[in-house]
Symmetry: C2
Subunit: 340 residues, 2 copies
DNA sequence: AATGCGTTCTGAACCGTTACGGTTTGCTCA
DNA sequence: TGAGCAAACCGTAACGGTTCAGAACGCATT
């Protein structure tokens, strides 16, 4: 039976024909994939865990890039891609347990997420993209600290000393507001924490007191949120000359807000992003480009090829600072009352 | 064992504790999802078949909307979404057979696709989104003929008689060129065929000889392809006053090409789209809006709730003609040599 | 003490497939 | 004619759960 379908060489064409013919007559729909999976111990699918409304996942070009790369790798290997439902609010981990997959790719998840814990319990290989970084688990992502340092030094070298930061979600609890120092250092979203730390280090080295640098956080990740974050920051700190954003999406929002206020970029305000999405490129945004498609592809290949590997593998992706037309020297502050 | 995990009420807390304790000591990773699926005959996932490079699927906002809606429905039901690898070129149908899913959603597939045939052979419920329309199978989608007729009548009533059409892929074989009549009527992509037929009918009724109307096809579905299609059409038929596109993406490309040529929209050229994606809305495109998110959601709900339903269900979505700033009366043709 | 009843616990059957190894068949060659 | 051997065929045992029937047990009632 099985042979007739999967191993034509094991039986004569005549028998095969007969078997298939009667199978058809009996209305046999072909081998059951689940039973096959049980027997062969291969599910033929990789699971993708991302704790995020799928809505946002699909809307964020960087996330789409990763997804696309992963899908490409799966396609090559002929395995399916199983999206595990795990929206931020949901504590129900059953979906992770239920998923019939040969491995998991974890993307953009806070390090204290229960879904992550559930994944780690499953006896299948796991690859983490970007975050969180966990000891002994395969990981693919850029060197966020180095890349962020590069961008910070670019800003510093232009002469900026009054800067502000727009960042993405730092923890599972929503905080659409300024970020106190302890929340920065205890952020559960690893990538954001690393980037903030790198900024702190770089600016401190340049003589800027980091505790005076305003950092505004947004839970959701849309251009509009970037704009509102910029508004909140600039309302409270109109003296800042550069807005460093931890993503291009936020940066695009910041630019929209700048133009709304009549601020010229970069003459009045420098804006930088992170990721290097196409839209940012078109807008001439100064940003750090990272190869998102490659990231997803690498994750898929790593996972699919991870059979009987001993040491965990870490893949660090190349990033590149791309200086666009949104960064320049700070405006000279007119101080007429101190004038000659 | 099983009870300890899934039916705590069936045994004493003491025994449950002991069972779980020894399970942990033995390093038991929890019930195997595949074995469970085999026994319960529920895979806990729905398959999504779309014969398209995932790349394009993710790039097309209309497709993303459908995907998102479907993901939402899956999330609600706590089931996974299994993306079946099936790029256009690939004849390998094994992935469909291998997928451990409780049902399939088929989206944007030509009616002669082998993957579709494979899906139909599987003894699980299937829902088709948009196309192809198949007798006896659940379907969710708009009334393409009616919506297209509406837009055609809009164009006609504005006074246009010299029109051109830009359409998406009509068959599995690539044809980035003008479309002869027989290819139009035999198109394997049902939605495109219906729309072309509706246009033919509407314009014929308005006294336009459809066989003289140029139709240009593009295999890939990007803004750039829309632009190149418009270029090809306008180069050969500079007299057309309206470009009807079967998708917003193509229409956006057409507008880009119009501006490249120095044609004012709508003064010199009317452009219309189809879908009502956000980007089109922003551009003020005259288009037919369809609720893509609802479409995906409806498909998911239909599939998940299709147990023991007898008659196939057809859900027809509301569409709405949205007249924007890209359609207007045709330019008056200057014919100096026939002047008074 | 025997009976009845309700709860907790145990064991075996079953889900549909593939892997494995043993048996049959058919052929060649001494 | 029969040994030797390869190809073709077939039967059976897992894979790891869930389910369900019935055994064992504890307690109250007759």
């Amino acid at each position: 039976m099985s042979n007739a379908y999967n191993r034509p060489d094991q039986l004569s064409p005549e028998l095969r024909r007969r078997v298939l013919e009667t199978a058809r007559r009996l209305g046999y729909p072909g081998p059951d994939p689940v039973a096959r999976s049980l027997r062969t111990r291969k599910a033929g699918a990789v699971g993708l865990l991302l704790t995020e409304n799928l809505s946002y996942a699909f809307r964020d070009p960087a996330a789409v890039g990763v997804l696309e790369g992963l899908a490409l790798a799966c396609e090559d290997a002929g395995v399916g891609l199983h999206l595990v439902p795990a929206s931020p609010g949901r504590e129900d981990v059953a979906a992770v347990h239920r998923a019939g997959v040969d491995g998991f790719v974890v993307y953009s998840v806070p390090d204290d997420d229960p879904h992550l814990a559930a994944v780690m319990q499953r006896p299948v290989p796991t690859v983490i993209v970007d975050q969180p970084r966990i000891e002994g688990i395969d990981r693919v992502g850029p060197d966020d600290a180095a890349a962020t340092t590069e961008i910070a030094q670019h800003i510093v070298s232009l002469g900026h000393r009054q800067v502000g930061v727009l960042c993405m979600r730092l923890a599972r609890e929503r905080n659409d507001d300024f970020v106190p120092p302890e929340r920065q250092s205890s952020a559960h979203f690893h990538v954001q924490r690393i980037r903030l730390e790198a900024l702190a280090t770089a600016f401190s080295a340049a003589g800027v007191d980091w505790s005076t640098v305003p950092v505004v956080e947004r839970f959701d990740h849309t251009v509009d949120d970037g704009a509102s974050a910029a508004r909140q920051l600039l309302d409270a700190h109109p003296q800042v000359t550069a807005l460093i954003c931890t993503s291009d999406i936020l940066a695009l929002g910041a630019m929209a807000e700048a133009s709304r206020r009549g601020l010229r970029v970069p003459a009045d305000l420098t804006v930088t992003g992170f990721d290097g999405i196409a839209e940012a490129e078109r807008a001439g945004l100064t940003t750090v480009h990272q190869p998102v498609l490659e990231k997803g592809k690498a994750a898929g290949k790593l996972l699919l090829g991870s059979a009987d590997r001993l040491a965990p593998k870490i893949i660090t992706l190349k990033t590149e600072l791309r200086v666009g037309s949104t960064s320049g020297p700070p405006r000279t502050i007119e101080q007429p009352w101190f004038g000659p």
